[in-house]
């Protein structure tokens, strides 16, 4: 489509003052045009005349124009060129020139009753729509051609700029569409819809064509006559898979033109395409294919983003903080793929509304229920099954969506050797979301999430862990310029383990972290050039760092309870995104965070200047309930600059600082379900980090291919590392077992992404390093002589290919391949004998690397037939994980067994793993 395209039926609307034939031309055209397409020809005319020509390129595509003119007006030239083909030419008083196959329709001068004009127009349109429907074209054309009047025609004088706001929703289900780009064709001003499908755009009064694009949906447009502030709901239709046509990628705004950098958005369709072990769409595993995102191994869902640790990622699921995003030893992520709409990862320019973690924000949105019909889906795999049901409670107003997932892995466990046969492992998760639209200005959402894992070893030690969260959101639109989102909710992560094998020592150990959230966020669009966000976030934390208690009457276990910890984290933020020109846009934000560690609590005193150990405790101080024990505060800065040199090329720079007040303590490499979280206190300082990044973005082939290169440098202060033999569980004085480090990370990321077409996917390459060094004079122990050493997630090279090829509407094949450097480990340097056995002595931390990693996976998706009349639609996924069967090492380790040292290599997946999944939609 051409940018100046305009259907003739809409064109006449502006003409009620025109004098036909009046030449607006002030610059005459001279030139010899040979074999030009209409578009090329018109472009040349436009540049010579300085006027805009509106035409529908689909009508003129086939024409080749050859013409010689000397000192002719634009209208005349157009008449010469196009009249022989049966086109009509028209120019109006605003110097706009129109070309159309249909005759122009001149309206009488507007009558005093303002409505009559609109009525006439609509009547005319209705006629046209009918014709079009009769001739077999889609009804949507009607909506596209219909003129929408925005605002009150008798709008206040002097108000030159007005705003248009509204929702973009899926016409079929009524679900909001986030990330859709909405822009005014004339000015190029554009915005992207938020998570709720909401947009607000400002413009001068006048006539516009509003273009709406979203991935997987058909592009559409609305003809607007803007008189004043007003609202508009836009329904998008799903893309019918006519693969011959290449859709312009909707996200062209969000890559080259968006102001953010280091942001990746993946929708559930893409997530489901990527083959993973056991075949269930897994968003965390898909995140790992993006540049700059790594994990220490296949059984770990802990993400390491740009050289950050796993606890430095804020994982939000519908605004609820998820502390443990994994199921089943990390083989599954904790999110039901049927419930997810999309996921957005921010790794460099983190918006000011987010905070509290250093490395990234992973914002996962679940779907909203279908507001029109009851529908659902179900999936069956080898290890898990899932079900999802959604529908309206009140048509077009209230909807629900509920989803659940469970596992039946016991058959797998029964295959284990005899002594483990009584083992059990299971998990489930449940999601519920209710949304209700009171009116165009008020929406509420209630979401609940529950995940639970349990496993035991031959009825000995039983482990449980789970996340729980509930939230209430109210989205309120004060005016087109100001909207707000109020959230309150409660999130909890808890685990326990217990053993009753020996009645005398039967125990239960439990841990939990709770947070109560209250957030108010405002988005304000004073004019289109500015997007201002401000708000207040408040989190009240309450942790039970450990309770160890007896189980049964025979147990001699003494109840031990570490005093609960509580704190309040408050943050105020303000940011402004200012588009100065088409080229230059800058963003600045400040988030001021304040952390108060609260009583009741008893804090140890340590002898000044001595390493903190139990022996250097000199006394303690008790604080009453609610007393501020320690306060940390400080500004966090967010800056971005975007230089868009053209629609397809831009450079962006960003600088961020972040603070983190809650820390995960783990002495294991992989994120374990028994890791604990700890709040900052008088001894545990907040983590602080900054990041400078620069990126270059280029789009090719009508924005269907995105190229990007990003480079970053980060500093990380006060990340916690552990002293040798640190005790983390049931330790009331963690400060004696940890020390501060100083970290640095840098790297470059390249990404080539093709989002549409028969072949789609991406290729990413990352070079990144991350180092840490001990930076604590009170540690009492020196790690690696105080020098920088690579962290256990320092993986310098990583290359990933993710591809999907659609043969027909029903068959597609997906392939991914990934290569990365092995992660660092600490290895022995010497042997010795002690306590009856040969043993090894370990050398410097992380002085060696495990062998490199390579994996290739493949899946074939087979859809049932696409007949619309069918009640259910089913599909199959058949795939192989680790196609080459390569035994990728997860770890290398050394054990003293029967008196001698043996070295071992552990691979999580030692063979190719085939899988099959059946999905049904109804």
């Amino acid at each position: 489509m051409k940018r100046h395209s305009l259907l003739p039926a809409a064109a006449f609307l502006f003409f009620f003052h025109i004098a036909l034939g009046q030449s607006p031309d002030n610059r005459l055209i001279t030139g010899d045009f040979k074999e030009l397409t209409a578009t090329q020809f018109i472009t040349k005319l436009e540049s010579q005349s300085g006027l805009h020509v509106y035409f529908d390129s689909s009508q003129t595509d086939s024409l080749r124009i050859t013409l010689s003119v000397r000192q002719q007006s634009l209208t005349k030239v157009l008449v010469l060129a196009f009249s022989p083909y049966g086109f009509y030419i028209l120019s109006d008083q605003w110097d706009r020139v129109f070309i159309s196959k249909k005759p122009f329709f001149i309206l009488p001068a507007p009558s005093l009753g303002g409505d009559s004009l609109l009525q006439q127009i609509n009547r005319h349109l209705a006629d046209h729509d009918e014709q079009e429907i009769n001739s077999g074209s889609v009804q949507k054309a009607g909506l596209e051609n219909k003129l929408y009047e925005i605002g009150d025609k008798i709008s206040p004088k002097g108000q030159s700029r007005v705003s248009i706001a509204g929702y973009v929703i899926d016409a079929k289900t009524g679900e909001p569409i986030s990330g859709a780009s909405v822009y005014l064709e004339k000015t190029g001003t554009g915005v992207v819809t938020d998570q709720y499908g909401y947009f607000s755009i400002s413009a001068a009064k006048g006539g516009y064509t509003l273009i709406i694009q979203s991935i997987g949906m058909k592009d559409t447009r609305r003809q607007l006559q803007v008189y004043g502030d007003g609202k508009l709901t836009i329904e998008l239709h799903g893309e019918i898979m006519t693969l011959k046509r290449v859709t312009i990628a909707a996200q062209k705004l969000s890559n080259v033109k968006s102001n953010e950098m280091g942001v990746q958005k993946i929708d559930i369709k893409t997530i489901k395409q990527v083959p993973v072990a056991f075949g269930e769409g897994d968003l965390l595993k898909v995140m790992l294919t993006l540049p700059g995102v790594k994990s220490v191994g296949e059984s770990s869902t802990g993400l390491n983003v740009r050289g950050g640790s796993a606890d430095q990622n804020l994982i939000l699921f519908n605004d609820a903080t998820i502390y443990n995003p994994s199921h089943f030893f990390g083989l599954f992520s904790a999110f039901n793929p049927e419930m997810i709409k999309d996921v957005e990862l921010y790794k460099s320019s983190i918006p000011a509304r987010y905070g509290g973690r250093l490395s990234s924000v992973l914002d996962i949105s679940s779907r909203e229920g279908n507001k029109k019909n009851i529908t659902g889906s179900a999936g069956i795999g080898l290890l898990t099954s899932r079900l999802e049901l959604e529908g309206p409670l009140l048509k077009d107003k209230t909807s629900f969506i509920i989803g659940g997932r469970t596992t039946y892995a016991d058959w797998l466990l029964n295959a284990l050797p005899e002594q483990y046969k009584n083992s059990k492992a299971s998990f489930y998760d449940l999601n519920l979301e209710l949304s209700h639209e009171f009116d165009k200005k008020n929406n509420i959402y209630i979401t609940g999430y529950l995940s639970r894992d349990g496993f035991n070893l031959n009825s000995d030690t039983i482990y449980h862990y789970g996340n729980q969260s509930i939230s209430l959101k109210w989205k309120h639109i004060f005016s087109n310029k100001l909207s707000a989102l109020f959230i309150t909710g409660h999130d909890r992560y808890a685990y326990d383990n217990s053993s009753s094998e020996n009645p005398v020592t039967a125990y239960k150990l439990s841990f939990d972290v709770n947070q109560t959230n209250a957030k108010a966020g405002f988005t304000y669009f004073p004019v289109s050039e500015h997007r201002i966000e401000f708000g207040l976030n408040n989190i009240y934390y309450r942790l039970h760092p450990g309770t160890y208690e007896p189980v049964g009457t025979k147990s001699l276990v003494a109840t031990d309870k570490i005093a609960p910890q509580q704190a309040m984290e408050t943050a105020l933020y303000l940011s402004d995104q200012y588009t100065l020109t088409r080229v230059l846009s800058i963003g600045g934000g400040m988030r001021y965070s304040l952390f108060n560690y609260l009583g009741p609590q008893t804090i140890n005193d340590y002898a000044p200047g001595l390493p903190r150990t139990i022996t250097s405790i000199t006394g303690n101080n008790s604080y009453a309930s609610g007393k501020f024990i320690k306060t940390y505060s400080g500004p966090e800065w967010r800056f971005t600059v975007r230089l868009a040199f053209s629609d397809s090329f831009s450079i962006k720079v960003s600088y961020n600082t972040e603070q983190q007040y809650i820390h995960m303590l783990s002495s294991t490499t992989a994120t374990a379900p028994t890791d604990i979280w700890k709040l900052s206190d008088p001894y545990i300082k907040p983590q602080y980090g900054d990041q400078f990044s620069i990126g270059v973005y280029k789009n090719l082939k009508s924005n269907t291919i995105e190229l990007s290169a990003e480079f970053y440098y980060r500093d990380i202060w006060h990340y916690l590392d552990y002293k040798s033999g640190a005790i983390l569980v049931m330790n009331p004085h963690i400060e004696t077992d940890v020390f501060n480090t100083k970290g640095k990370a840098y790297g470059g990321e390249l990404l080539i992404k093709k989002q549409t077409g028969k072949l789609n996917g991406w290729i990413s390459y990352t070079y990144s390093r991350t180092f840490s060094k001990q930076d604590d004079s009170l540690a009492g122990e020196v790690i690696n002589n105080g020098r920088y050493y690579p962290t256990s997630y320092d993986i310098p090279q990583d290359a990933t290919f993710v591809g999907n090829y659609r043969f027909t509407h029903r068959y597609s094949i997906a392939l991914n391949a990934t290569y990365s450097t092995g992660r660092p480990i600490t290895v022995p340097i010497a042997n010795y004998y002690y306590s009856g056995s040969e043993r090894v002595l370990y050398g410097d931390r992380n002085g060696y690397r495990i062998p490199d990693y390579f994996r290739m996976d493949m899946a074939i998706n087979i859809d049932g037939n696409h007949k619309l009349t069918q009640k259910t639609h089913n599909s199959w996924t058949v795939g192989v994980y680790n196609l080459t069967g390569r035994k990728n090492p997860f770890s290398i380790y050394f054990l003293s067994q029967n008196g001698v040292v043996n070295g071992y290599k552990l691979s999580i997946f030692g063979t190719a793993i085939p899988y099959i999944n059946y999905n049904i939609r109804f």
Partner: protein, 393 residues
């Protein structure tokens, strides 16, 4: 951590695997002093072992010989240990005052001097019981103790297992030579006459090789009930006739316990998915000559408590079968004479270094079909001793 063991088994089911792997690691010459001293301070002999760390590809014991080893009390009392060979320095009787603190001073022949920190003398409560329990897979040995004073919250155990076993086969035959009328001298088999009872009944011993430590710190009273020491699979030769285990118990301080626990984590519990990362091991011995030099070891003074139990085959489930590696059915061969070479079977048995045990049948023509086994299956002295231990019941 059991979670990791569980995970490993789960992985097998998922196609995961653990392979033996010896990476080529850069192993610098270290030669750090290793002083293993869990010293019996309650009277009777006491010893300490001194050695040096070796390079990774070298599994030999690098003994430290010729050193001067002395225990020093904070009352300036001194007790000298003498070298007894194999890196061991001992004293015939060491009885320390539990009201005092002691340390160890070591001077090597190369002039380096090492000194441990002062530590108290731990008084070990008696072992309440050493018990065992049989389940489908074998037996589990437990120790139990308690300290009414509540002073000893941390314990270490080591043990010496001894078991009686029998050679699985009795040698009734021996090789001989006959003169075949046609072929000349050929190998033959003949009856042994008297079987050798001296190679039938033997005893074998093995010390504990893992670190076994436990604590009652989480309990309301200082009781260790049924602490698992070791397990023996039902097919083990240890359970074939009679088994005995001598358990030694030592009380530890909290810091001493931490040292052993860290060594255990570093060398016996690393590696799996949720295993801890290895960390530096800090003992209580320091070099005076080169401060900061790595020294491995923690000098502990503790009284020791013993307990021995016996388990007879008759106490165990009758269906348990002993599998002696090397004498399992697949290594026992019947040699049948071939038609072309009537002596080939005997030659083959000799070639395979097998011992003839018994005649199965006599074939027409007087040729023998017999059973032959590796020598270790008829002579128990190759793996054990036929001298009955003094404590054996």
């Amino acid at each position: 951590m059991k979670i990791s063991a569980f995970f490993i088994f789960l992985l097998f089911a998922l196609g995961g695997c653990i392979q033996r792997f010896q990476p080529l690691l850069n192993s610098p010459p270290t030669g750090y002093l290793v002083a293993e001293g869990l010293i019996n301070s309650g009277g009777g002999p006491a010893q300490i072992t001194l050695s040096r760390t070796t390079q990774l590809d070298d599994s030999s014991f690098a003994y430290e010989t010729g050193a001067t080893v002395q225990v020093e009390g904070n009352d300036n009392s001194k007790y000298s240990f003498v070298y007894q060979g194999s890196g061991i320095y001992g004293i015939t009787n060491l009885s320390l005052n539990s009201a005092l603190q002691y340390r160890m001073r070591i001077k090597t022949t190369s002039g380096e001097e090492y000194l441990s920190d002062f530590v108290p003398v731990n008084i070990t409560p008696p072992i309440d019981s050493v018990s065992w329990q049989a389940d489908s897979g074998g037996i589990q040995i437990y120790a139990g103790t308690h300290d009414p004073s509540g002073n000893s919250r941390y314990f270490k155990w080591d043990y010496l297992e001894t078991w009686e076993f029998h050679a699985p086969f009795i040698q009734e035959l021996r090789y001989d030579t006959i003169i075949d009328p046609v072929r000349g001298p050929e190998p033959d088999i003949t009856a042994l006459g008297a079987t050798d009872s001296a190679v039938y009944t033997c005893w074998q011993s093995a010390p504990s090789m893992q670190i076994v430590i436990g604590s009652s710190i989480n309990l309301s009273s200082d009781v260790i009930a049924r602490f698992p020491l070791t397990s023996i699979p039902s097919s083990s030769q240890k359970l074939s006739v009679e088994y005995s285990v001598l358990v030694n118990q030592y009380a530890l301080t909290s810091a001493e316990f931490d040292f052993y626990q860290l060594m255990q984590k570093n060398t016996e519990e690393t590696g799996s998915v949720f295993g801890a990362q290895p960390s530096q091991l800090q003992g209580n011995i320091h070099s005076l000559t080169n401060p900061g030099e790595t020294v491995i070891g923690y000098i502990v003074f503790s009284t020791v408590q013993h307990n021995r139990i016996f388990i007879r085959r008759t106490q165990l489930p009758t269906y348990w079968e002993t599998v002696i590696s090397g004498c399992a059915p697949d290594s026992v061969r019947t040699f049948i004479p071939g038609p072309g070479d009537p002596y080939g079977n005997i030659k083959a048995a000799i070639y395979n270094q097998l011992v003839p045990t018994t005649i199965v049948t006599v074939e027409p023509g007087g040729y023998l079909q017999f059973l032959a086994v590796p020598r270790v299956c008829v002579n128990c002295t190759l793996t054990g001793t036929n001298i009955k231990p003094s404590f054996w019941q």
